[in-house]
């Protein structure tokens, strides 16, 4: 089938070994959910009915997740997930999700949430975050200083405009409380 005939934009499937790991994670989630649900009180001793027990529904979901994860694991194994050196070519086609850019973006976002937010007015923390984010990502090695200074200046202006505008618009127009 030609790529432009692919229904709903299906993509290349992941290697079976990935699916085995996914199945393991979901198995742990499902089993933990089911076990904790089983340990929840049923309130039958307080004249409650068993079908209103708090653990019934989440326990059912936990069991279903366990069964689905077993299905996924069996399928992955039938596709050769346990074969040594299986699908070496396919594994290389998976893009590495953890790039330096992504790690930097996540680190900046966490610094903003943990260290800036709540420790100063929101407009200022947002301005610092946006300016730092833009300034760092647009920083280019070997760039002449006048260009670099202009970029940094633009980043600071963008940060200040964002901080002030977001605060004004959401507090005054939408009546939203800011963190």
């Amino acid at each position: 089938m030609a790529s432009n005939e692919q229904p709903f934009g299906h993509e290349q499937p992941l290697p079976a070994r990935f699916d085995l790991w996914i199945a393991a994670v979901f198995f742990v989630i499902g089993a933990t959910a089911a076990l904790l649900a089983y340990r929840m009180p049923t309130f039958v001793d307080q004249k409650g009915e068993i079908y209103t027990a708090p653990g019934l529904v989440p326990g059912f979901y936990g069991v279903v997740i366990v069964l689905l994860s077993i299905w996924l694991a069996v399928r992955a194994m039938r596709q050769g997930a346990l074969r040594a050196g299986a699908e070496p070519g396919q594994a290389q086609t998976i893009a590495n999700p953890v790039s330096h850019r992504l790690a930097l973006a996540v680190a900046l976002a966490l610094l903003f949430v943990v260290f800036l937010l709540g420790h100063m007015p929101f407009w200022l923390s947002a301005a610092i975050f946006v300016a730092a984010f833009t300034g760092i990502f647009e920083w280019q090695a070997g760039e002449p200083w006048p260009t670099r200074a202009r970029r940094l200046g633009e980043a600071i202006v963008l940060g200040l405009v964002t901080g002030v505008l977001v605060s004004l618009v959401f507090e005054r127009f939408f009546y939203v409380r800011l963190p």
Partner: protein, 502 residues
């Protein structure tokens, strides 16, 4: 008949004031910008604006959200045509012919086709919504908890089967969403489930912070990982749609509109499936098959009409069955619940005027989209060229404000971050997010209806399988799961083709 027209008229009049029209204009504009920017989707836009319009009166807030929804689905075609990158997943089919047209120097004409197709598609969808919603609502009024339980199960399972990608992972995502919805205090005994002594967890996982995280933050992360896109075409010819294009392809428009509405109604499928299906159907029926993929006017018209008509289509089951037809409509349904509305058949009884208001909102949003389609071409090209290094931190700040604004809990910001990470990882592992969203939104309804049904039946499961609608939904759910087992669908097709040949 005249009573209905009178109510519809008064709904329109209700929005014809400067304040409402101002909201329509900025919301549609923002929706088009969100849709046009690769990495930002209609679901993220609706989720974000749901939190930010929380303090507005419900009809104004829902109107803003519908304008964002309609605008974002349309806006995605701009980057599809100019950048060869769909602004939203719904516009992926538009790249196939929109971009080749732009490369031939007909970017303006392509945008004109996109505007006319999208406008007509939404109008067709609105007509279907106006015709079918009252009938479906009346039919659904006889439903009890047993039926609503199966509707929720059917929604999550069908979304897993059909929403694209691996159905098994779709089911896992759906049941994960349902499980997450059970965290916190349950309604019968106020028992704190999975709270581990944390007061914040006992309050439950906020639906909107989770949605803002799963869509907004995850999209920021994805955008910052990938390389930036560059616009290809900056010379634009006339964007005014040609009447000849519309008249020549009227059959394609009707066919795509009908397909879009039908796929919109099916739970969780969404606008991208509608666009692809309309495109494929147009290609099969076309006399110019060889043009498809090389700059076919008909192909672009079909994709745009299909995706646009699925927007009202996806709202039909929200209003009648409390079952969202797509991820953005799931968020819209959550917004309705937050604003005290009760989506489902009772909506027509509790807020009869709201049905007419929804029609008025969709028509106004569609007209507003048409106007922006003509005047917003060159400013949009400039917006498309804004580097993501400048845009994404602003989006993150907005996500953060959105997550916090509903209950003013810092905990919700952490929920947003965690769901951002979950959403990002799940996308990387080829999970479709629609079943997860449906699970989160329908989790509460499913549990309440299951327990209520069991209380009504004295603990018996028999009515869940013997009532006619329940039996049909249960059978469809099972068929949907069995169909997704590898080899089953092929064997059934082979069996039918063999039977047909003998």
């Amino acid at each position: 008949m005249f009573d209905s027209l009178g109510q519809l008229g008064s709904a329109f009049v209700g929005f014809m004031n400067p304040h409402s029209l101002f909201n329509v204009l900025w919301a549609t504009f923002l929706g088009i910008v969100i849709g046009a920017l690769p990495g930002l989707t209609a679901t993220m836009g609706v989720a974000l604006l749901t939190t930010l319009t929380f303090s507005m009166p419900h009809n104004e807030a829902i109107m803003v959200l519908i304008c964002i929804y309609v605008g974002a689905i349309y806006g995605g075609s701009r980057s599809a045509i100019l950048l060869n990158i769909p602004g939203t997943p719904a516009s992926a089919a538009s790249t196939l012919d929109g971009y080749p047209l732009a490369r031939k120097g007909m970017a303006g004409r392509a945008m004109g086709i996109s505007t006319s197709g999208s406008w007509l598609g939404t109008l067709f969808g609105i007509l279907c919504l106006a015709l079918f919603t009252p009938v479906l609502s009346e039919w659904a009024l006889s439903f009890q908890s047993f039926e609503f339980f199966w509707i929720a199960v059917f929604g999550v399972v069908v979304a897993g089967t059909l929403a694209g990608g691996d159905p098994l992972k779709g089911y896992l995502a759906g049941f994960l969403g349902l499980f997450i919805a059970t965290i916190g205090q349950e309604p019968y005994y106020n028992y704190q489930r999975y709270a581990f002594g944390f007061t914040d967890l006992a309050g439950g996982i906020g639906l909107l912070p989770a949605l803002v995280g799963a869509y907004g933050v995850a999209e920021v992360m994805s955008a910052m990982r990938g390389p930036a896109a560059k616009a290809v075409s900056s010379t634009i010819d006339s964007v005014v749609p040609r009447i000849a294009d519309v008249l020549k392809y009227w059959k394609t428009i009707f066919r795509s509109g009908a397909i879009g509405v039908w796929i919109g109604i099916l739970p969780g499928l969404g606008e991208d499936a509608a666009a692809w299906s309309s495109y494929a159907a147009a290609r099969r029926a076309s006399k110019e098959k060889e043009e498809f993929g090389k700059g076919s006017i008909e192909g672009l018209m079909a994709a745009e009409t299909g995706e646009a008509s699925s927007v009202p289509g996806a709202i039909i089951p929200v209003l009648t069955l409390a079952l969202p037809g797509s991820a953005p409509s799931a968020v819209l349904m959550a917004a309705m619940m937050i604003h005290g509305l009760n989506p489902g058949p009772n909506l027509a009884l509790e807020s009869p005027q709201f049905f007419y208001q929804i029609i008025a909102m969709l028509v106004i949003a569609d007209m507003s989209k048409l106007i922006f389609g003509f005047v917003l071409v060159r400013p949009l090209i400039k917006i498309l060229l804004v580097p993501r290094e400048r845009l994404m931190p602003i989006v993150f700040v907005l996500c953060l404000v959105g997550a916090y604004s509903i209950t003013s809990r810092v905990f919700d910001i952490y929920v947003m971050l965690v769901f951002g990470l979950i959403g990002f990882v799940m996308r990387e592992l080829k999970f479709n997010m629609a079943p997860l969203i449906l699970g989160l939104v329908l989790g509460d309804l499913l549990e309440k209806n299951l327990t209520r049904g069991l209380v009504l039946s004295g603990g018996s499961l028999v009515p869940f399988f013997t009532r006619p609608v329940c039996a049909i939904l249960a059978a469809l759910t099972v068929v949907s799961i069995v169909w997704s087992i590898p080899g089953v669908s092929d064997r059934v097709k082979r069996l039918f083709s063999r039977a047909g040949s003998t």
